[in-house]
């Protein structure tokens, strides 16, 4: 997103109601109760977890495995449920 300015007063607002500040500064990972963890030995690199993540928080690491971005993952558990090889386990945060 190019226009990353913050609005501080009414005068700064654009003429039309077109949103322009990216939400990436909001770290939704703090919402998480259960934490998905990928077992690379079981992962078959099908990327179904990447495809079904509603928080767009699964990327790819140097070895080509899916990599969870814990800054944003809300811990919904869909990736763990959908993984065809049970390579993602949900673990309670802080335990």
């Amino acid at each position: 997103m190019k226009n990353n300015q913050k609005y501080s007063s009414v005068e700064d607002l654009p003429e039309a109601s077109v949103a322009s500040v990216s939400t990436v500064y909001i770290k939704t990972g703090s919402w998480r109760v259960y934490r998905p963890e990928i077992d690379k030995e079981k992962c078959i690199k099908c990327f179904i977890c990447w495809r079904c993540c509603p928080d767009i928080s699964i990327g790819i690491d140097e070895e080509g495995y899916p990599k969870i971005n814990y800054d944003y993952c809300k811990g919904c558990g869909i990736c763990s449920h959908e993984c065809p090889n049970e390579a993602i386990k949900m673990k309670r945060e802080g335990k």
Binding site: M1, Y7, L13, P14, A16, S17, V18, A19, S20, V21, S22, T23, V24, Y25, I26, K27, T28, W31, R32, C46, F47, I48, W50, R51, C52, P54, D55, I56, S57, N69, D71, Y72, K74, G75, C76, G77, I78, S80, H81, E82, M90
Partner: protein, 298 residues
Amino acid sequence: MNRAGIPIEEYVCSGHSACPGCGALLVLRYVLKVLGKNTIVTSPACCFTAIAGMFPDTCMEVPLLYNAFETTAASASGIEAALKIKGKKDNTHVVAFAGDGGTADIGLQAISGALEDGHNIIYVCYDNEAYMNTGIQSSSLTPMGATTTTNPIGKEAGWKITPKKNMMDILVAHNIKYAATVNPSYPIDFVKKVEKAKATKGFSYIHAYSVCPTGWRYQPELGLEMGRLATETGAFPLYEVENGKYNITYKKKTKNVLEYYKLQGRFRHLSEDFINDVQAYIDQEWQKLILKEECSKK
């Protein structure tokens, strides 16, 4: 480039405020993957407005315009008309993105008008089957038997007794060029249908199944499983209508609706008799759909 059968590019970013496991985000994410960066989205009051972020925040890499609840199709028509005047319509897609309430209830007349006027827009309804953003009120797309916060209570009631309005048929009655139902649990079928909508010159409609763990009361990890059950039981059939011709894209209706209903808290109270009525209704609608497809082949 594709990964796991769908385009790699992302036009939605993290940091949005959808509930964990919300389907609306997957719907928008898949739609934009196909349409690409030359897209303008307009959205009314609905969960998605809250999800995208409070103005001026946005979780999108493409322009997003906020419109009033009943005006989504009118707003999209206006954007399209302006782009035409500027000579930019040919390579820009205009997407109206609204919830079931904003589509089938308050926004219905605007859709009817925009379609009749032949505006070249893609209307996407993400159907989470109630007014979720304001606290789970009943809409005309709430399914038979679901409890919401606005169903009259009593010994024999407390849930919606009438079936879902058939939005697809309403739009087909307008001689729409392309209309399709999609479900994020079937991403490859989803992407294919959006490709067709993208190629359509004129109004096209995508009706998307969109799970809502908060309003439907189920464990969020079951989201895509829920979608598969909705389609396998015939509660949410997958089909498309191209110039009046019906084509069912998922034919294996193999399961009993009870398997789908029993996973969700919003159906918990239902008696066996009521579930049988729901099953009879779904079977009857499925038969009609098959007949429509058969007629299309003649």
